[in-house]
């Protein structure tokens, strides 16, 4: 059964976190776009963390959505990082070269710790 994509947005220090669940495919466009807007509107987030720990499917259209979020963030001089990707989707991030532009962390805590150390540095 299809698991609709959902997103929870919250802020930790100056990082905006988008915790995704379900399937990141074409049907996730509205959810992901709204979540990104929610994450950055009115805030001072320099880093946007996309957490995929509860995502079990990403297809080529989902990859395109992530590219769109990355393009928007870069145009706003924001950094995008990812956490919680399975080994398979890490490989896809490598193949597509998304990992050249989106630093990938094993889990959300590690991603946030890195964002914090960058801020302090």
């Amino acid at each position: 059964m299809k698991k609709t994509c959902e997103a929870i947005v919250h802020t930790v220090a100056d990082a905006a976190v988008i915790e995704l669940t379900g399937e990141v495919d074409g049907a996730a466009a509205g959810v992901l776009t709204a979540a990104y807007e929610d994450a950055v509107t009115g805030g001072t987030a320099h880093t946007v963390v996309l957490d995929f720990a509860r995502v079990d499917y990403i297809n080529s259209t989902g990859i395109a959505l992530i590219v769109s979020v990355l393009a928007q963030a870069r145009s706003q001089r924001r950094k995008v990082v990812a956490s919680g990707l399975s080994e398979h989707y890490r490989e896809i991030f490598d193949i597509t070269r998304l990992s050249d532009f989106i630093e990938v962390f094993g889990d959300l805590d590690t991603a946030l710790a890195d964002a914090g150390s960058l801020r302090e540095g």
Partner: protein, 165 residues
Amino acid sequence: MTSVAHPAGRQLASFAVASEPGNERIALARVAEAVAGSDLPPARLERLKTAVAEATMNAIEHGNRSQPDIPVDVEVTQDGADIIVAITDLGGEHAPAGPAENPDLELKLAGEQRARGWGLFLIRNMVDAMQISTDGPRHTIQLTMRTGAGAPVADLPGGGHEEDL
């Protein structure tokens, strides 16, 4: 476009899905079930599942134009060490998933290439071989994945590490 020979070997599954968005998930689940007894390492199974999903999505959207009454046929066979998945739509000769050019992330980020267009690229990078053929209205993409001893060394458990060389 050249014709692809019908795969010989033992049939593991043969089924059809309606051309409705999302049904690629049904196809990948049924293919995964069909090859469960094969000697396919987990990482390579994940790759095959992604390739099957992308090829089925392409067949639904670009081949059968998302018309639910037109099925996408999926046949899974094993020929020696090869798992072969043939996915057929009735769209005749049409562009496979994605544009002809390779996706270039930097161009996409610069807005000089559309964000979509990853389908064929993903399929090609996920499986050991891919062939496309048309026979009248039947358009088939055939995916081949080697199992066990036939799989590339780097993809086998523990493969690709210096201590194994």
